[in-house]
Symmetry: C2
Subunit: 121 residues, 2 copies
Amino acid sequence: MTKVKESSTNQASRKFLAECDLTHAVRLMSGRWKLPILYLISKGQNRFGMLKKVIPNITERMLTLSLRELEDDGLITRTVFAEIPPRVEYALTEIAMDLLPICDHIRHWGLKHKQSIIFTD
Amino acid sequence: MTKVKESSTNQASRKFLAECDLTHAVRLMSGRWKLPILYLISKGQNRFGMLKKVIPNITERMLTLSLRELEDDGLITRTVFAEIPPRVEYALTEIAMDLLPICDHIRHWGLKHKQSIIFTD
DNA sequence: TATGATACATACAAATTTGTAAGTAATGAC
DNA sequence: GTCATTACTTACAAATTTGTATGTATCATA
């Protein structure tokens, strides 16, 4: 969620893990607000103000940071319109749209997992 | 990776997000070493020492913490044998095995994403 | 000239995750 | 009695992520 910092074991293993396609992918989804944002954009909530309204608890700062990261990771595009007051629209990229059906699988598994825990504890 | 701390906005939104099956699921996979560990256990690397050997860069502390969390989350089981030197074996739970095919999807998407970035930058 | 609307930016602080270094416990082999 | 083996634990520190509070820019409208 921030810039690259100094070199360290931390950075080294991050790089190492990025070589694996799986951990690379999971890292892209890993910010707290990333997937909610992606999902909502796909549902038409494609402006800063809209997202702010529909995501409870998110702060403007985190919304900004998350949008920037999603953009840097090639998951959303950002279009600025030369209007006042400003208008900026976000949209999913193709690769992000490919992620949506996988998210359905993950969501389904998440529910199953919740239920499996109820019956185990 | 640690205990529950004081109440805060942070905790509040974590709880909120856990209500969503998708973010709940992603959170389970989100530790840096979680999926590598799960994968390796599924491939027969089911002891502490084995995992330590085959996962470059991981520290004993992180391995311990990750294994504990996976256990707490119901993704692996831990079996202690009454031997000296100690022998402890880990195994995937059923719900964790259900995750494996989904991981294949995610991995495949991760590769596609990497390629999409190469051709865009 | 002041206000509102929109989409941010910035300085700072708290919470969380990850890493470093050293130590523990049990016991059979030497 | 010392050592090796295995699977950890603990105190501490660094790095990363998330949150709080406040400020900025533009221009049309009142």
